[in-house]
Symmetry: D2
Subunit: 474 residues, 4 copies
C-alpha cells in the first residue's frame, strides 16, 4: 500500500477493475499490443524475425517500474522511455515500427476504457436483477408515498423500488449503446494521415487498412474512427463519462430515499453481524453506505466537469493539455462508479424493513390520503357531493389542527367522519376503504411486474450477472 | 422586446425554436393537450359533452398572460391558475379530469424537449452536409499539420475539416439515439400509481393503459416510461443535455482551430459585405463568430452542471427542488445549442482561405516535415543510413538556430542538404520530394471520401437539411 | 412582459436589482459614463464645448432599443451602434474620445456588478438579523439533533438556526471582502497600453492617470487594476460568482433541513393566509420556497461552471470567447442570488413551529439520547459502572427491538430502567434528568448569544437592513 | 510506489506537500493532536497520569497501516480503529476523552488544509517574484499585441508578463484573505453542543472554552467557528478550493499565451539540456509544461464541482455524504495546485525568447498598427485630415489584399505611404515613427514598474519565497 494511495481504488474499487488500470497492468497491455502489431506487420510482409517476436514475448512480464520512471526523467518522454526499456529487455528493436506514441497510448487507453465499461455494465445488470427481486418481495407492502417530502398518496415499497429500477434501466440502455458503438482511434500517425505506415508499406494503402482492421479486432471494438488527428476527439471520453454519471443517478436517488426513510425508522440499509452500532444508542443505524453512494455521485460530477473541460477545447490535429487530466479522470471515474455499484449491491441485498413503523406511518396519514375515495363512497351511498366535500374538509382541517396543537396524539379522522351525518357512512365502511390495499395501491402491482419482466431480458443476456457477489466493503 | 430579455433567445436562437418555448406557445401546447385528453377520455366512455370540447377548442388561442400571472399570485399554484382561466374562457369544467398537475406539465415539457431535439438534429445534419462540401473543396490543399500547436506533419485542409466532421457525426449519432429512445412519463398521477385515473375509469386498468398509449402517440414518442413517481427521473434531462453538449464539441473544436489559423492569417471566418473591419487595420478580421461558438460551448457546460445537480438528488416520489432549475435550463440549453448551430452554419459557409499564406507556411516548415522521406530517398540512392541521418540532423539544427538568431530569414534546409555529399541528392531531387503532395498527404484524400460518403447517408434521411438557410446572425 | 422572458428576473428578482441590468438601465449607465468622461477630459484641457456636453445630457434618456438593435445588425458591432445613435441624438461627436469599446463596456459591467454586490450584501445582512431574532426566540426549544439523519443528541432549535446563521456570516464576510477590494479595469485602451489616451493628451501620462482616477471614483470602487490587457482578467468574475455561490450555501443548508423537519411535521415554512393548501389534505404543507432555495443553489453552481470556463482561458491581450457567456451569466447569477434571498427572507419570517410534534419526537428519542447522563447519575448514586452500562445497553436494545417489531408503540425505556435494580434509580429521578433541559442543551444557549452579538455588529453597519421588506413571492 | 498510485501526488506534487497528506503523516498529526488535548485536559484538572502521556509520546511514530486498515474492516469505523490501535500501543486508554470522532477528524483535516494553504501561498509569492524579474528583463521588448488572436496594437513582452503577474497578485490577495481568516471547528461534540466535554468538566463551561482556545492555538489558526453542528459547514471547503482555482487562473492564462506564441515561434517554454527535442525536427519545441498547467486548471474545475456539490447540501447537524468526496478532493486539489506552481516556476525561469522572430512579426504588422500615429504626424505636417485618412485606408487595404493573394511577400505599406502625395511624409519620417518604441509602448514601461513594486511588498513579507527552487519536473 502506498503512503499516498489512490483513495478511490484503494478503498472502494474491485480487484478486477484495478487490474486494468494498475501501472503494471497497463504496461502489459502495451507490450501485448506491440507484439500484436508486430505479428500483423510480419503477416503483411514486413521483415520482422520470429525470434525477435519470441524474445519480446518472453520478457513482456518483466516490469521494473522504477527503471522506466527514471528513464522518463531523462528523456522527458514517457513512451520513448517504455520503448527503450522493452527493447533492451528483448535485445531487439522491432516494436513500434511506423507508429507514433499516440498509436500506442490512445489505443491502449481505449482498450482500458472499453474493458472497464463492460465490467460496469455487468454490475449494473446485477443491480437490476437484485432490484427486481426486492420489488417482487415488497410488491404489496403499502407505504405512504411522499411528494415535497410530505405524505401524498399511498404507494407500495415494491413499486418505489421498481421506480428506481426503471431509472437504472434507462441508464443501462444508454451505457449499452455507447459500449456497442464505441469508436476506436486505430493507427493514424502523428497528425492522422498514416504517412509513416504508408511509407513503411511502400504506399500500399490496402495493407495499412488491413493492419488497422486487425488491430481493431484485437482491441475488441466493432467500430473504427475513420478520421482523426493525432488523438481521437475527447468528446468520446465525455460520452463515456456522462454515461457513467447517468448510470449513477438511480442508485443515488434510491440511496437518498433510503436515508430519508431511515430518518423515519421505516427502513435501514442493513448491517453486518459484527457491526452493532452504538451500544448506548441501538436505534442509531446510520446510512453510511447510502451516504457514500451519494458521495460517489458528487465525485462523478467533478469528473464530468474535468472531461467536459477537454471536449471542444482541442487545437488543430491535437494538443496535449488533456494529458494530465485524462491520467486522473479516466481511471478515477471508473474506480468511482465501480465503488458505487459495489456499495449499491450491498445495500440492495442487506436493506432491512420495519413493517410496524411503516404501518404506524400509514395509520397516521391514510385517513387523509384516502379522503377522495371516502367521498366517492359517500356519494354512491346517497350523500350530496357538496355537503360530503364540505364535511371532509372541515373535519380534516380540525384533525390536523388538533394534532399540531397536541390536543390529540393520533389521527382520529375516521372516527370523526363516521360520526358526521352528512356522509352517512359507518366507521366499519370507512375502515374497509382504508384496508382495501389493492385499491389504494393503484397500478403499483402491475408496474412491478413490468419491471421484473424487463429485468429478465437483461438477466438472459448477461447470465453471470445474477451470481455476482459484491466485494467486502469498508 | 422585453427590457430584461432572455439573452440567449433574443440574440441567438431561431424563431422556430423560440415558438416552442415561448410563454404563449407553451400555453397553447397545454390547452391542446387537455383537449386531446378529453377527446380520448370521451372515446373511452367518460361523459364529456361534445359542445364542451368545442367550446375549449374555440377559445384555446385566447391567451392573456397577465391575467394568468395574477391568478397565480393568489393561488400560489401555476397549473391551478391556468386551469381556472381556461375553464372560465370556455364556460365548462371538463379539462384535467383524473389528472394531477404533473400529468400536464411533465408531458408538455417532454413534448417541448422532443420537438427541440428534432430541430437540433436536423441542423446538425445541415452542418454535416456543408462540412462534407468544404472537405471536398479543400481535399488536396496541403497545410502544415500541427500538434502541440507546433508544425508536425503535412495534412490537407479538407482532411482537417473532415476530422471535425467525423466528430460531429459521432455526436449526431448519440443525439439520434436519445431522440429515438426518448421515454415519456405519461399519465401517472400524484405518486405514480394512477389511482385517480383508475378511480375515474372505475378500476378499469385497460382503459387507463389505452388512454396513456393514445397520449404517447399524440406526443410523438415511441417509448413510455412504465414506472415513475410524481415526476420522471431527472437523469433523462441529464441525458438530453449531455448529448447537446456532446454535439457542441466538434463545432467548438473547429471554431478554436479557425481562431488559431486566423492568427496565422491562413483563413478567416468570413465577413458579410457590409462589414469591412477596421478601415485602418484591414488585416484585422476577428473571429467573432468562432469565439461565440466557443462561448456557447462554455454556457452548455454550465447548463450541464445545473441538470447534473438534479439527477441523483430526487426525494421519494418527487420533490420540486428541480422546478426553478428546469424552468431556466431546459429552454436556455436549447436556445444555446440552436444559436451555436446557426452561427456554425454561417462560419462553414463563409469561411475564406488564403492559399498564399498557407503556401508560405508550408515552405517554411515542409523541409523539416519531409526529412524522413528525404532520408529514405537518399538511402535508396546509395547513401549510408547512419551518415544520412547524421547529415540531416546536423543541417536541421543549424537552420533552426540560424532562423531564430536572425541570420537567415527563410528556411534554406533544402539548399544545405543539396550541398551535402553524405546524402548525394541534387536540389531538384529534394524539391521533387517536397512537391509530391500526394505522398505528403498520406491517407488524407481517401479519408475525405469516407466522410463524404457518411454524410450522404444522413442527407438522404433528412433531405430538407441540405436546403436549410441559417438565420441572419448578429 | 416578453414572450420569452428572462425567467430568473421575471419571476424571482427584485425591481431594484432588475433596474441595474435592464437593457434601458444599462444604456443610461453607459451614457452617463460617457458624459462623466467628457467632463473629466474637458477639465484636463481637451476641447469639448460645454454645449456639446449639455446636448448629450438632454437626450441621455431618449432610448429606442429597436433602433440600436437594427444599427447593430448593420455594423455587427454593438458599441459602435450605440455610439452612433447617441451622437445622432445629441448632434455632436464628442463622446468616446481616446477610448476603445472595452473602455466603455468593461467599466459599465463592473459598475453593474459592484452595485449588485452591494444590494446582495445588504440582503444577507437582513437575513442575518432575522436569523438572530429566530435563534433568540427558539433558544431553549429542545429538539432532537440528528446526524446521518438519525437522532443523535439533543440540541435546541435556536442553536440549529444559529448554526446556519454562523455559516451565513462566514459567507457574508467573504462577500464583504470582495466588495471592499473589487478592482476596476479603468481606461486602458485596445491592448492595455493606454496609447490612444496618451496620444490624446500629447503623451502626458499624468493627465491619463488623473483621468483614470477620476473615473474610478465615479464608479464607486477603491481599487484600480494597474495593469490589464484589453479586458480585465475573468478570474475577477469568478471571484465574484464563487462568493455568490458561497453565500447561497447557508440558506440552502437551512432550507434542506426545513424540508427534512417538515417531513416529520416539526415545522413548516409557513403560508400566506390565502394559500390554504389542499382542502382534502390540510396536512400537506409543501416546502415550495425551501425547495426553490435549493434550486437556486443548483443554478448558481451552473453559473459558477460557466465563469470557471472563462478564467484561465484568455488569449494574449484578450479574446472575446467570453462575451456571450458573460452576457448570460453576470445578470443571471445576480437575479438568482437575489431571488434566493427574497425567498429566504420570507421563509425565516414565516416559518411555523409545531412544538407538540417536536415534543413527541423528543419523547420518542430522549431516553436513548440521555443514556450517558442517566448512567453517570446511577454511578453517583452508588451503582457499579460496568453493571450500570450493561443494564442500559440491554434495555435499550430490547426497547428498540420491541418498537420495530410493533410490540410497543412508545419508547418505554425510562420505565424499564426504573425497574432495573442494577441502576437503583427511581422513575422520578430518571424523568428529572430527561427534563433538565439546560443540561441536555449543553452550550446551545450561550452559542445563540454569541451569534446574536455577531449579528448586532452588522446591523449597526447596515442600519437599513433591519427594515428591509422582501418582495411578494410567487 | 503503489501499483495504482495517486497520479497527482506521485507525478507532480512536492515532498513537502505530500508529507502533510500521506497516510502516515496524517496518523502522526492525529496522535500529536490527541496528546495535545490530553495535556490541556490534564492542565485543566482531569486525572490523566503523566506516565500515560509519556507512553503515548513514545509510540506515536509506530505506525502499522495494514493493522489499522484490518481493524477498520471489523469495526466499520475508521476513527475507532485508530483509537484502539494507539491505545494498545501505549497500554493506556486516556486519549479522546469527551471527544467524538469529528472532534478529531475535522480539526486534523483543517490543520492539513491550513498548512497546505500556507505552502501554496509561498509558492505563489515565488512565482510573483520571478514574474517581476522577467517583466523587468523584457520591459522594453516591443511585441505585437493581439486581441481576438489578431494583431491589434504594439505592447511589450514585459508588460504582457506583468499583466499575468497582476492577475496572480489578485488571486494571491484572495488566498491570503482566506488563510488569515480561516475558521476552525474546534471541539464541539456530536451535534455541536459540547455536551460530553461539559459533562467531563462537570458543567464548567469556562474550562471547555479554555480547552478549545488552547487547541485553536495548537492548530495555528486565529479564528474559531463559535457554532457548528457535528461538522463545520462545507462552504468553508468551497471557499478554500475556489481560491485555489482562482489562483490557478493567471498561470493558466500565461501558459495559454505562451502556447500561442510558441505557435508563432516567438518564444518557447524552454528545455533542459538533455532534452533536445526530435532530432529530425529541431524546430519542434512543444509546450508540454504549459499544456500541463492548462490541464491542472481543468482538474481544479472538477475539484471545485465536487466541493460545490457539498456546500448547501448538508442535512441537520451533519450527514456524512461528504466523506468520500472530501477524502478525494481535499488532498487532490492541493496536489494539483502544487504541481501547477512547480511547473509554472519552471516555465517562468526557463522560457526562451526569439527576438528575431518577434521583430519579424513586428515588421509585418507594425505598419498597420501605427497608422493612427502616422496620420497624426501627416496632419501636423500640413496634410488634410480627410485626405490623409483616405490615403491610409486605400493603401492599407491594397497591401493586405496583395499579401493574401501572394503578390507581395512582405508588408510594404511604409513604401506605399511614403510615395503618396496626400500624406506628404518622407519614408524616413515614417520609419522614424515605427522605431519610436517608447511612443508605441504607451504606458507599458511604467506599468511594469508598478508591478515590480507590488511584488517587492510580498517578497519582504515572505523572504524565503525568493530562494525557492522548484522540484525537478517530469
Amino acid at each position: 500500500m502506498a503512503d499516498i494511495p489512490n483513495i478511490l481504488s484503494e478503498r472502494y474499487a474491485s480487484e478486477h477493475l484495478k487490474s486494468i488500470w494498475s501501472t503494471r497492468g497497463k504496461i502489459i497491455l502495451e507490450r501485448e499490443f506491440w507484439i500484436a502489431v508486430m505479428k500483423a506487420q510480419r503477416a503483411l510482409g514486413l521483415t520482422i524475425p520470429n525470434e525477435a517476436i519470441n524474445a519480446y514475448e518472453l520478457v513482456k512480464e518483466q516490469i521494473d517500474i522504477n527503471l522506466i520512471r527514471n528513464r522518463e526523467e531523462t528523456t522527458k518522454h514517457d513512451v520513448k522511455a517504455r520503448i527503450e526499456v522493452f527493447n533492451e529487455l528483448a535485445g531487439y528493436e522491432h516494436i513500434h515500427k511506423g507508429l507514433t506514441s499516440r498509436d500506442l497510448t490512445e489505443n491502449i487507453e481505449q482498450l482500458q476504457i472499453l474493458r472497464s465499461l463492460k465490467i460496469i455494465r455487468q454490475k449494473a445488470v446485477s443491480a437490476l436483477i437484485l432490484l427486481a427481486q426486492r420489488a417482487d418481495e415488497f410488491r404489496n407492502l403499502v407505504i405512504t408515498g411522499r411528494t415535497h417530502n410530505v405524505p401524498a398518496q399511498p404507494t407500495t415499497l415494491g413499486k418505489r423500488v421498481a421506480m428506481f429500477g426503471e431509472e437504472l434501466l434507462f441508464g443501462l440502455q444508454c451505457l449499452d449503446n455507447i459500449i456497442e458503438h464505441y469508436p476506436i482511434r486505430g493507427l493514424k500517425g502523428a497528425v492522422g494521415t498514416q504517412i509513416d505506415l504508408l511509407t513503411l508499406f511502400d504506399g500500399d494503402s490496402t495493407k495499412v487498412s488491413t493492419l488497422e482492421e486487425k488491430i481493431l479486432g484485437y482491441l475488441g471494438s466493432k467500430r473504427l474512427m475513420p478520421i482523426t488527428g493525432q488523438v481521437y476527439p475527447r468528446s468520446i471520453d465525455f460520452a463515456v463519462l456522462s454515461n457513467l454519471f447517468l448510470l449513477s443517478s438511480a442508485p443515488s436517488n434510491m440511496a437518498k430515499s433510503i436515508r430519508l426513510m431511515a430518518g423515519h425508522e421505516l427502513i435501514s440499509e442493513g448491517f453486518d453481524d459484527n457491526q452493532v452500532g452504538s451500544s448506548a444508542m441501538p436505534h442509531k443505524m446510520n446510512c453510511r453506505s447510502c451516504e457514500r453512494i451519494n458521495g460517489f455521485n458528487v465525485i462523478l460530477k467533478g469528473h464530468l466537469t474535468m472531461v467536459a473541460g477537454l471536449a471542444g477545447d482541442q487545437w488543430n490535429e491535437g494538443d496535449v493539455s488533456c494529458s494530465v487530466v485524462r491520467r486522473v479522470v479516466m481511471p478515477d471515474s471508473f474506480f468511482t462508479i465501480d465503488g458505487l455499484f459495489e456499495t449499491f449491491l450491498h445495500v440492495i441485498q442487506q436493506m432491512e424493513i420495519f413493517p410496524n413503523n411503516i404501518e404506524k406511518e400509514n395509520n397516521q396519514y391514510l385517513p387523509y390520503l384516502a379522503t377522495t375515495t371516502i367521498m366517492m363512497e359517500a356519494i354512491k351511498n346517497g350523500a350530496g357531493r357538496e355537503s360530503a366535500h364540505e364535511a371532509i374538509k372541515e373535519k380534516s382541517i380540525a384533525v390536523a389542527k388538533d394534532i399540531r396543537e397536541g390536543k390529540i396524539k393520533e389521527n382520529d379522522l375516521v372516527d370523526r367522519l363516521a360520526n358526521d351525518p352528512r356522509l352517512g357512512l359507518k366507521q366499519s365502511q370507512i375502515n374497509e376503504i382504508l384496508t382495501q390495499n389493492e385499491k389504494l395501491m393503484g397500478s403499483a402491482g402491475s408496474q412491478v411486474n413490468t419491471f421484473i419482466n424487463e429485468s429478465i431480458v437483461w438477466k438472459k443476456r448477461f447470465p453471470k450477472a445474477a451470481d455476482y457477489k459484491p466485494i467486502k466493503i469498508l
